[in-house]
Symmetry: C2
Subunit: 105 residues, 2 copies
């Protein structure tokens, strides 16, 4: 299979977790049209309401990098930046070797 | 959406990473038939060939717990235990609030 998995955390400024999740849900709709996007999930963390996790699977690391150049995605990043607490960390990078449940080809 | 995400690491004894991944790929076929299983991905980590990551999404935490009682899954756990280095850690638990890419309902 060999796909690119990125599992990363974004922390919103206090009280802005819900707003950040809302922006990322819009981002998920945008990226679902990007070439190579296989999975883009937004999760919350019960231990901290202002922390948001994004779990992405792409056909390749290059497909992910390419998606960040999309105008709609860039605009959403512009909306998210002011409510982030500090800079986003890089996230965990893995190589998916197999499994079940991914939808579209 | 509100689904249960579990992202956890298993470390094999030196040189047994490939064998552990193979067992987990069989497990992914088993659990795909379990009620509530939405995603079960096996990944490797470029920084350590003996580390395997499992990323699961279930309709509920209870569905996940229930799947561990499946006879086929229990048998695969029995195969995996002797090649693990130490006990598996609990893994990261999150609540998926939305996104795209999950396949079957």
């Amino acid at each position: 299979m060999n796909k690119y998995l990125l599992h990363g955390k974004l922390v919103a400024q206090p009280g802005h977790g819900e707003q950040l999740r809302s922006i990322l849900l819009k981002a998920s709709e945008q990226v679902s049209a990007s070439p190579g996007c296989r999975l883009y999930l937004i999760s919350r963390d019960e231990s901290d309401p202002d922390t948001v996790w994004v779990t992405e699977v792409w056909e390749s690391k290059e497909d992910h990098a390419h998606s960040l150049q999309d105008e709609g995605v860039k605009e959403l990043i512009t909306h998210a930046m002011p409510i982030l607490k500090g800079k986003p960390e890089g996230g965990q990078e893995l190589i998916v070797v197999g499994g079940v449940g991914i939808g579209k080809e």
